[in-house]
Structure formats: C-alpha cells, structure tokens
Symmetry: C2
C-alpha cells in the first residue's frame, strides 16, 4: 500500500513511518517541524538526540534499501495539503500532524487558539483534499482517549447504543474533554464523522491512550533512527516522565492524589495498531473508532510500578494538581476493536521498564530537571510555559 504519514517527523510519526516501510508499504512523510520548534520556545530538547528528517530518511535507505519520501510543509496551507495528496496518491493517510500536548494548549489564549486552529484547519483541509482528489483514500486519524473525559459509564469505541424514554439510537459517544487540546480532537472527530456522512469518506479515528516507550524494532537498528523522547512537563507523557525522574534520582511527581486512571499503550503497539488500521480499511462512509490502549492504570500505580522496577531508591511525591480533572472516578474502557484485527497487546512489565531505564540512563546528562516541574495551571487563563 501507499501510505502517507502526516507528522512523520514526530515521536510516533517517525517510528510509524519506519514500521510501515519495514512491513513493505510504500511510505512518504510530511512535517512542518512544529514539534521541534516548540522545544525552542520551552528551552528543552528531546532526551534522546534525534537526527534531521533528511538524515533519518537517508540512514533508513542505506540500511534497508527502502526509500521514504518526504514533504516539508503545513497542513493549514491548503495548497500544500492538496499537493501532497495529489503527488503521492496514497491509499491511506495516517494523520498525526497536530499539536498534541494538553498543557501546551492551556498556556494562554494564544496557545489555545493556535492549537484549535492548527488542528481543526489542518484536518479540514485534509478532509477536503481527500473528498476532492480521491474519496477512496482511507483516513487514519489520531484522536485521544482524553476526548471522552471520565464519564460515570463505561467508555465504548466512539459510538454508544442508547435507550431514552422508550426509544433507541446509536449516537456518537458523548464527549467531555479536559483541555483545549483534547477539545480540538473532539472537534476533529465531529468534522470527520460529518465528512463520512456527506462525501462517503472512509475513516478510522484512533482514540489513543498515554503512549510510553522509546524504541521499536526499526528505530533500534541505528542510533540515527531514534525517535524523540520528551521529559518536560509540557510534552513528556506521564509514564516516560516518571522513568526519567526515577533515573535522575528525583521524586516522581504525581498530580493530585494519583487515583486518576488512564489508558496506556507501548510505542511498538502504537505502530502495530496503525499498520492494522491501514491494512484493514474502514468502509466507504464509515466513521470507525477504536480505543487504542492496551491496559488501564492509575497514576499512583504507574509511579509504584516504576519505583518497584528501579534498582535505586525512588521517592514518590504528590504535587498540587495543575489540571482540572476528577481524581476519583469510574473508568472502564472497551478496547477490543484492534485486538479483533490482530493486535497482541504488550503489557507494562519489568522488561519494558528496564529497557526504558537503559535508554534514559544513557542520556540522563541531557536533562534540564527544572523543565519537569509543571508551570501551566488549568484554573488560570494565563501561565508561563516553562521554568
């Protein structure tokens, strides 16, 4: 298949491109390097050093003989979006190319507006490009489990069979997300479902949980193929951040009482899920939703697990929760769709954690520890972005 990976220079986009290329697909990536620019704004850098996209692509070609094409540009530029869809003529488009951090969207008005405009407009342009150029193209869109919030009922996969006053319907699962970033993905999901309805587009919306891990079979082949690994309070996902704090001998900072439960998924399962979604396309007109997680854990359980696996002494501290979120809540999530397509979930284990410790130790000297302290407060309309 020909697969276009948007945001293909990012934490997940790059390993996904490699994995799809390694699996025999013809792959191209597109990126505007927004993610690298956010680092300049925050004065941080990926813990694991990463090469330029051009070097990455060259090294992969040298190692495997496989070419990965690349386009440099921005999806909010419709000319660019139409160009890449026309030029590469993909069978599937994997869309990671959005601002992806909840705290970044909550810095202040400008960051909230940037996040929603960037994400919603890029996605709208992509929907129109597909509808106008080739509505057979399968859109594989990255959503987030955070779209659902923490309802007091079980979380289904995107749709909900409902009974009300003696009548029934199948409705889009009601969403109550927890940041302007998460809201942008809810907006996207609504726009995509509508595009499926009016134009007969085929789409898969992947509501992904918190991703952890740093290596895949493909990125591990050469240091120059490494993907980024963020440890800062803005872009560092919680489990990765705990690992880095443990290695640096700093307390693991649990927000609030730590009973907040989240869905998790390991990086190698993420890239496998994308492959399964691409190879098993949605039907024309179908808005298909999968919950892309493999297990559920509370923040406290994640911290305890890291602490237990670490050979050194680890302390866990609770800091005031900068977010507005329920800490004690029901959380039961259906996530069988991807398993039915063939996913064999990896669960968080000592082996997985140890491999993360190894990588982290190797690059621990690159960390700027103050960047791990949260500065962005949900209750305030304006915060500083970093220490």
């Amino acid at each position: 298949m020909k697969i276009l990976v948007l945001g293909g220079d990012g934490y997940l986009g790059w390993p996904t491109a490699l994995h799809l290329s390694g699996a025999g697909h013809q792959v191209a990536v597109a990126d505007n390097f927004a993610r690298r620019s956010y680092d300049f704004e925050m004065g941080v850098d990926s813990l694991v050093p990463i090469e330029s996209l051009q070097t990455r692509v060259r090294v992969w070609h040298d190692l495997t003989g496989q070419a990965i094409g690349y386009y440099v540009g921005d999806l909010t530029d419709a000319d660019f979006t139409y160009h890449i869809v026309r030029d590469f003529a993909p069978d599937a488009v994997v869309h990671y190319a959005e601002q992806r951090a909840a705290p970044y969207s909550m810095v202040d008005r400008k960051h909230a507006v940037y996040t929603q405009v960037n994400n919603v407009v890029g996605n709208l342009n992509l929907l129109y490009a597909i509808a106008e150029i080739n509505p057979e193209i399968h859109l594989v869109k990255l959503g987030t489990m955070g779209e659902y919030g923490t309802p007091n009922i079980d979380i289904e996969e995107g749709w909900l069979e409902i009974e009300h006053k003696g009548r029934t319907d199948r409705v889009l699962y009601p969403k109550r997300p927890g940041s302007f970033y998460h809201l942008s993905k809810v907006h996207d999901s609504h726009n995509i479902e509508f595009a499926c309805r009016i134009w007969g587009i085929r789409s898969t919306d992947l509501n992904q949980g918190v991703v952890y891990g740093q290596q895949t079979a493909e990125t591990a082949r050469d240091d120059r193929l490494a993907t980024r690994f963020d440890y800062d309070a803005v872009f560092g996902t919680v489990l990765n951040r705990f690992v880095i704090q443990a290695v640096l001998g700093r307390p693991l900072t649990v927000y609030g009482n730590g009973t907040q439960t989240r869905g998790l998924i390991e990086l190698r399962d993420t890239v496998r899920c994308i492959q399964l979604a691409c190879e098993n396309p949605a039907d024309r007109g179908e808005f298909r939703v999968f919950n892309q997680i493999t297990e559920l854990m509370s923040l406290q359980e994640m911290a305890d697990t890291i602490a237990g696996a670490c050979p050194d002494e680890v302390t866990i501290c609770h800091v005031e929760n900068p977010r507005v979120e329920l800490e004690n809540h029901h959380y039961n999530v259906v996530h069988s769709g991807l398993v039915e397509l063939g996913l064999e979930p990896r669960l968080l284990s000592d082996t997985l954690i140890e491999s993360l410790f190894e990588i982290t130790k190797r690059y621990a000297h690159r960390a700027r520890p103050e960047a791990m302290i949260p500065t962005i407060e949900w209750r305030k309309p304006s915060s500083v972005i970093s220490n």
Copy 2:
C-alpha cells in the same frame, strides 16, 4: 443591566439590542459587518432596506432618548474583544457574532474553514476575555437546534441523563450536526462547557430553531429601525423564504419530500428569550442550555400553512434536496426551560403570516428571484455560491 450584544447589526442582533434597550437595560453592540459583506459576495440584498448602524443608533436615540453604544471590529481580533469587554464592562454578553448560514459553510473548503475559524476563534477569544477580565459576566451564546441533528430519541435541553450497563451519568447531549456551520456551534458548545468547568464562567447556550418574522415592537416604530430580511437560498431562513416566494407568485421550493421537521420561533419571541436569559443569569460554573423554539413543523406543513394563508394561488414544488439530511425521522424536542422563565410562546398563525405578507409585498420589487434557487450541494465538496 449592562448588556453587550455581539453581532448587534444583524437580523436578530439589532432587534435584540433595541428590545433590551427598550426594556431599560444599558446596551452596546459590536459588529464587523461581515453579514453585509456576504451580500456583496452573493449579489443580493436584504429584501427590506436597512440603514447603517450609525443611523439606526441615532434614530433610536432620537425616538426614545436611549443611547446604544457601538463598537466596530472583529472578535477574532483578540485586542478588540478584550477592549470591548473592558471598556463597556457588561453584566451579560449576548453572542450572535458568528457566520450563521449552513449553506454558506458548505460552498467549498474556504467557506468551511472561514466559518469554523471565525466562529470558534471569536468565541474562544470571548471566553478568555471574560475569564481574564471578569468571570462574573454571563455569556448568552446563540447555538442552534441543528447541533443535535435528528436523533431517534427525544432531544433534551443540552444534557442527557443516561443509563448504560447498569451505571448512570448526566452527559452532554450527543450531537450529530448537518453542516460545517452547525459543527462550528457544536465546537463552541464544547469549548464553553469546558470554560465553565475550569474557570467557573456562567453561560447560557441557546439552541435556537428556525427564526421567522421581520418586526418587533421596537423596529416597527420607524422604517429606519427595520432589521434585515433575507430571501436568498443561502441566508434566507425557510419560512421567510416561503413567504417571499408566495408573494412573488413563485412556487414554494420544498427540499426533498418535506417531511423534515424543524423547531420554529418568531422574531419577537427570540428577543424576549434573550431578555429572559439575561435577566435570569446562569450560576457561576453552570453551562445552561435551552432549546429556543416554540413549535415544531415539517417543511411541508410550513409550505401548506403559507399557501393556505396567501390570498393568491400558491404552488408548492419539491426540488432535489441539496442537503444531506434525514427526511423521515423522529423529532420530539423538550423546550420548557425558557417557558419556565416566563416565555409566552407565539405560534404561527394567520395574523403572523399576514403581517409578513404585508412587509414582503411592500418590498417585493427588490427581490432577485434567481437568488432563491439553491446552488450549494452538500454532496459535492465545491459549489458556486449563487446564480
């Protein structure tokens, strides 16, 4: 009370400003005249001639001694939005200032993106201005019944008590809107609910039905206070358009089989609803939703009612439905919230229709009939905006 009416130069905004001023409130309006500009793009004009905002305000002052302040600017310009909220220091902000036509949003990619960016960013800027300047301000936001779509269960007022797998929750009513415009309002509603949750803003989201009518007690005092009356296929609301077609001796164009049912409300009830919402503010942190309609009718029933009331012969024709919408559907809507606050609904009657015939006849010579023929097709990603 001090009430700021955003979009105060528009079809509903202007009569609302007058009504609130007439009721003794201190009123200012803000507008960027986008609505007047769309007319240039389409080559049409309000059937009823309207004065400039400056003249309108002056005439109202001459007649009543009441001053209505005005600000000219765009809510997507955050400096403007913060300025007006700071300068006027309102108790309530009535927010009409959005692109409000479903067909306009469905012209092509540019119009879809414009609609969503204009509406979502303007509303985000307003939420931040309220949060930063004075979170006591009550936001009265115009939504649309079209946010709900046509679910197979009864439509409640914004929230839904739900039972699923033996557990219960109160969730945001699941939405499945029918255009990129309607989607923009769904995005707004989600953003507002979140702002209430994190910043304790007070808000009322008014999911309004199809408005008909042209006069209020206040606008009827002088021709120069008239509000606009749109008859074109893009901005003309369906019942108003039927009246104009009847007066012009042209067939009433029902889209599809006409069994699509919609909620209706008369202009004078709209302005009364806004007054009731302002005078009975939501609580701090409350996302309050009312369905702002007074009755339900199918398109066919509307056409039959107009035909029955018209002294001349009227033909009704069915044209291919340019929209993608269910034609045979359940539609039962709870709309008791505003009645509980004191609304006494006007129902569509011969008297109401006759007054509309009168106005329409007076200005029938101004109509460009070909502008009533729909050109914008939902199934195509790109259409021409007018004949």
